[in-house]
């Protein structure tokens, strides 16, 4: 089990209903994609928020990562929609 801080932004935050939480992740969660799949098992709000998995962006320790990248060593993992700043 790995302990990790999760942070959510924009409509991911709104749909999950919280801005952050700390979770113990099972060892089966290896990649960012695994994490998304795991979170969707935690409840309807996660399922709704992460329904279109492919558009969800992931950052580990405040750096963008692809879904296939491992989360080992992550202190903070952020999930958010495509960015619309500027």
């Amino acid at each position: 089990m790995a302990r990790v801080d999760l942070v959510y932004f924009a409509w991911v935050r709104e749909r999950i209903g919280k801005a952050e939480e700390t979770l113990e992740l099972p060892d089966s969660v290896v990649t960012a994609g695994d994490l998304l799949a795991y979170l969707k098992t935690l409840g309807e709000e996660y399922e709704t928020a992460l329904e279109h998995e492919n558009v969800i962006r992931v950052a580990i320790n405040q750096e963008h990562v692809d879904h296939h990248e491992p989360i080992a060593g992550a202190r903070e993992i952020a999930l958010f929609p495509p960015m619309t700043g500027g």
Binding site: F9, E63, A78, F80, M83, T84, G85, G86
Partner: protein
């Protein structure tokens, strides 16, 4: 140019275009061109009352700084500044400022343009619209055109 100064700020308050240009160019005589980009909140023909800008503190500053440094290296900029606001922003108000300085004009244009294209697609900011009729217009969707604008920089 390595060692070229980079100024990055993410702030609630407005910025002062002239002050930022002065700060970047003061007391040096080797700059030939300064390009600034200001992004403003449009009222969408009166249908929008405000934008609400959310960001990822820490990562927002880090991403913008990384993009500015890439632009400095790629275009030989002498200095780069990027300031992005968050919170509630009204039509006519500033959202973002980019300043790029270089000895020659095309590098300054390209540098500022590059920074904006990457800032739009990789700096962690999200816009929510507040409609003039009081309803929430919801979150702004990312545009394919912004991805295309970014991707043209990897062609050459």
């Amino acid at each position: 140019m390595s060692g070229a100064p980079v100024t990055v700020r993410v702030q609630r308050d407005d910025f002062d275009l002239a002050a930022e240009v002065r700060a970047l160019s003061a007391s040096r005589h080797d700059i030939g061109a300064i390009v600034t980009f200001s992004g403003l909140c449009r009222d969408e023909a009166g249908s929008l009352s405000a934008l609400e800008l959310e960001h990822y503190p820490g990562m927002a500053e880090a991403e913008i700084a990384r993009i500015c440094k890439q632009a400095i290296t790629r275009f030989g900029l002498q200095a780069a500044t990027a300031i992005h606001r968050y919170g509630k922003i009204l039509p006519g108000e500033n959202i973002v400022l980019v300043v790029a300085a270089s000895p020659h004009r095309q590098a300054a244009f390209d540098g500022a343009n590059f920074i904006m294209d990457f800032l739009k697609t990789s700096a962690p900011f999200w816009k929510k619209e507040h409609a003039a009729d009081g309803s929430s217009g919801g979150w702004v969707s990312a545009k394919d055109a912004d991805d295309s604008a970014r991707d043209r920089w990897s062609k050459s």
